[in-house]
Symmetry: C2
Subunit: 203 residues, 2 copies
């Protein structure tokens, strides 16, 4: 194996990158200045060396507690529970939520061997029981929003987490499912349309 094949093989391990794309990326880097390859290599090594889990919310971070948990301007009485740290970025970009997060680190999926003990559910219950935020000095949590994906596993996970939280927090809510904004009824699947109708609101 040459170093060209080595690098292509490493690229091909990434999701959505096949053998041909991996080779194309490798040849692209060979055409660029060596600096670009070094920067990519350096960013990879910095990632491995510096990213860890926030001890409060389980988010991926370089500082502990993470920037979100440490931010006094955020609402420390509302938690949004997500499957993965990458979901936080999507919700932050939407700009609607100003509370804190809790990252489960996956979803219940018996077929993949992921059970309740593999998710950060107990730490969520502990956190809710003793108050939110770093050190729990911010007082009681009044709402937990379950923002797991609206898939079969995500729904099962939300249901499981809701049961674990029963009695520990006044309100447990679930993000709304319906027709996406800008979407088209004609192209929506039946289950989504049924959800959109049953969750209709008076205008």
């Amino acid at each position: 194996m040459s170093v060209i094949d080595d690098l292509a093989a490493e690229f091909a391990k990434l999701p959505g990158i096949g053998r041909k794309t991996a080779l194309r990326l490798t040849y692209h880097l060979l055409k660029q200045s060596p600096e670009q390859s070094r920067q990519l290599a350096g960013a990879l090594e910095a990632l491995v060396a510096r990213v860890r889990r926030c001890s409060v919310c389980n988010n991926l971070t370089e500082q502990d507690p993470c920037a979100l948990c440490a931010d006094p301007r955020r609402d420390h009485t509302v938690l949004c529970v997500v499957e993965d740290a990458s979901d936080i970025g999507a919700i932050e970009r939407a700009g609607e939520f100003r509370g804190l997060y809790h990252v489960l680190g996956g979803r219940l999926s018996p077929l993949d061997g992921v059970g309740p003990e593999d998710l950060a559910v107990q730490s969520l219950v502990d956190r809710v029981s003793k108050g939110a935020g770093a050190g729990g000095s911010e007082g009681a949590i009044r709402e937990v929003i379950l923002a797991t994906n609206p898939s079969m596993e995500g729904e099962a996970t939300a249901l499981y987490v809701q049961r674990q939280l029963a009695g520990h927090v006044p309100t447990v809510s679930r993000i709304a499912r319906g027709i996406p904004v800008g979407g088209d009824l004609e192209y929506a699947d039946g289950v989504t349309i049924a959800q959109a109708i049953s969750a209709r609101r008076e205008m």
Copy 2:
């Protein structure tokens, strides 16, 4: 900028990788063992440190002359001229050609500022004039196959190279253009169909 954003920004510099895909790749690596990120970083650094140009054929290689030029079982009297080193892999996988290569390092493209002096044409003429292979010990080259892409620039490049080679080699040929194997006349463009018809062969 966090190291997560840094790595995503580096990924997003690669062709065909947008901002969302770059983030997905980064989070994928965070879920994997650190070893995978380190292997990718190591492969990148090995690429920069060890890959250079073959002094005979201009191919990308770790040894000079490259493995192809140094292989005595290949036919050193036929040269296949390609635009980029990545084209060699495609031709080798096809398994039809057993001669040697010559990499031009691009194609004539006045709009991109690529002129004849930017391509390895003179080294091709020198190589053909004094015999093929490493050191030229294998005797005269009897055929040069022009395998630049059948695009406007590729055709112009082939024409230019053919003129430079005139008188130096008995045969200069061009790869066939036509309907791709497994392709469908219905979906082929008019120029390709015209080529396929004018280059028809008796059965």
